[in-house]
């Protein structure tokens, strides 16, 4: 069943007075419970596309359908996890995680019950009372993921969430992310420029062309989970993705 559909999404930017087309008509269908990775050359507009799905930016053309209904505003049904986490430094970890629930007016007792569950899932319980500056980058991303999950969104949007992490922490989170996905059955749209990451996470990998971007090819990765980064069988998929991606990266330089 189609959960999310992007129809001919176009987006222009002003660049030194010139109109620059970032997105040249993105068409994408995402099934319920699917894990789709978006890869493309840097600056191709994949993050912009994610922001449009989140409702944070408006497309100049086309529409986003969630369960067949057009969406134009932000909503707790589509939660974005930012590259740098965008955690609030004035709040403790637990209050960061409960933020969306508080905004939604959910009473305190219920909030703590929900946040407790996700803090536990993300192994953050002992950091609940910490402020964000006391956390490592990896811990911050865990908080950011917990903060998104508490709202029980239909679609989880992730914008290169592991790009700033060291390799060990990233490998760990890449495995955890698969477990979380299996446990929560969320539909996930995951932007990355890292081919190995895409091959590890995605059921499908959509390769973006250079600007004005369209989706060039979708690669299906039907392989057992949880996948680990050392698994050499994944390199076959990586090669497949790279073969599509390389000419686009060249064209963008």
């Amino acid at each position: 069943m189609t959960k999310l559909e992007a129809k001919n999404i176009e987006k222009y930017f002003d660049h030194d007075g010139q109109k620059l087309q970032a997105l040249g008509g993105i068409d994408l269908k995402v099934n319920d419970g699917d894990f789709v990775c978006l890869v493309g050359p840097s600056g191709c507009g994949k993050s912009t596309f994610l922001r449009i799905v989140a409702g944070l930016d408006r497309p100049d053309n086309g529409e986003i359908l969630l369960d067949g209904k057009p969406v134009t505003e932000t909503g707790p049904d589509r939660i974005l996890v930012f590259q740098e986490g965008a955690l609030f430094p004035w709040l403790k970890v637990i209050d960061n995680v409960e933020f969306g629930l508080k905004i939604a007016g959910i009473p305190k007792s219920e909030r703590s019950e929900i946040s407790k569950r996700y803090l536990d899932m993300m192994q953050l319980t002992r950091f609940a009372e910490s402020y964000t500056y006391q956390l490592s980058t990896g811990m911050k991303q865990r908080v950011a993921i917990a903060r998104a999950l508490v709202l029980d969104p239909d679609v989880l949007l992730m914008d290169e969430p592991f790009a700033a992490l060291d390799t060990q922490t990233r490998d760990l989170l890449l495995v955890e992310m698969q477990l979380i996905w299996e446990r929560t059955k969320k539909t996930i749209l995951f932007v990355t420029h890292n081919v190995a990451e895409a091959a590890m996470l995605g059921n499908r990998v959509a390769v973006f062309t250079n600007r004005p971007s369209t989706i060039k090819k979708e690669i299906v990765i039907d392989y057992r989970r949880p996948r680990i980064s050392e698994d050499e069988n994944l390199s076959k998929y990586q090669q497949q993705i790279l073969a599509e991606l390389r000419p686009e990266v060249k064209a963008s330089e």
């Binding site: 922001r51 939660i79 609030f88 905004i103 402020y131 500056y133």
Partner: protein, 252 residues
């Protein structure tokens, strides 16, 4: 480190008083013009004993607090709207920059015409002195918020009033604190200045009485009190809030 710092200060102030006493002992100027530290000290003790000093402090502080509260409330609202609504920034924003250059005592004539010789007049001067410093710092604070904070909050459903109270204000708070600090300093100058000119009650009034009676010890005594309160409020109120906020953000 900190201890060392305190010691240096204590030594400095003792030396300052000693130099002052030395000048007095040299009898260069008559006592009506240049009092000894002891005379100033006695004056402080007398005015403390008869309660006039504390009444003066209380009156000035009360006016300050009301004036500053108005300035902080108004400045925050104005600053947030200037930062979030471009038209307000382009219109009222330019006016605010101009108004900020007016020293607070320059509002006194207007205060007297509008409010007469009343507490309200002094509070008006105090508030106007602090308002624009708070406004401008709030404006910069909100302008400098990491756009991802706002995007994340909107994404999680915050809008309108909720966005302001749960994200804009706390995110801009480190800047706003400097605005409050500046605002407080301007307000304190404003209160004393206005009281000097209005001439009824408060520390500024006591300064003026000292001048009228040619009581130079009282003038200096009150000046010391004004300074001491300045140091105390800055150190105990604002620096403390600032430290809490900065350490919470991991900026220190």
């Amino acid at each position: 480190m900190k201890k060392n710092h305190t010691w240096k200060r204590i030594v400095f102030y003792i030396a300052l008083v000693a130099v002052w006493q030395a000048f007095d002992s040299a009898n260069i100027w008559p006592d009506q013009v240049f009092p000894s530290p002891l005379e100033v000290g006695e004056d402080l003790v007398y005015s403390a004993a008869d309660g006039s000093l504390f009444f003066g402090i209380g009156t000035s502080m009360w006016r300050l607090i009301v004036g500053l509260a108005i300035a902080i409330g108004g400045g925050m609202v104005l600053g947030i709207f200037m930062a979030r609504v471009e038209t307000i920034n382009q219109t009222i924003g330019s006016l605010v920059l101009g108004l900020q250059s007016i020293p607070s005592v320059a509002w006194v004539p207007l205060a007297i015409i509008w409010f007469g010789l009343t507490d309200a007049g002094i509070i008006f001067v105090t508030a106007m002195g602090a308002l624009f410093a708070v406004t401008i710092n709030t404006y910069s604070g909100v302008k400098n918020i990491d756009p991802n904070f706002i995007a994340a909050a909107r994404n999680m459903g915050a809008k309108g009033e909720q966005l302001i109270t749960s994200v804009l204000i706390p995110a801009a708070f480190p800047y706003m604190i400097s605005g409050f600090k500046q605002g407080w300093a301007f307000a304190w100058r404003g209160v004393i200045g206005a009281e000097l000119l209005f001439s009824f009650l408060g520390l500024g009034f006591l300064l003026n009485v000292g001048r009228q009676l040619s009581d130079v010890s009282q003038v200096i005594a009150i000046m010391i009190v004004v300074m001491a309160i300045g140091i105390l409020i800055d150190g105990f109120v604002f620096r403390r809030i600032e430290n809490t906020v900065m350490s919470r953000w991991g900026l220190r």
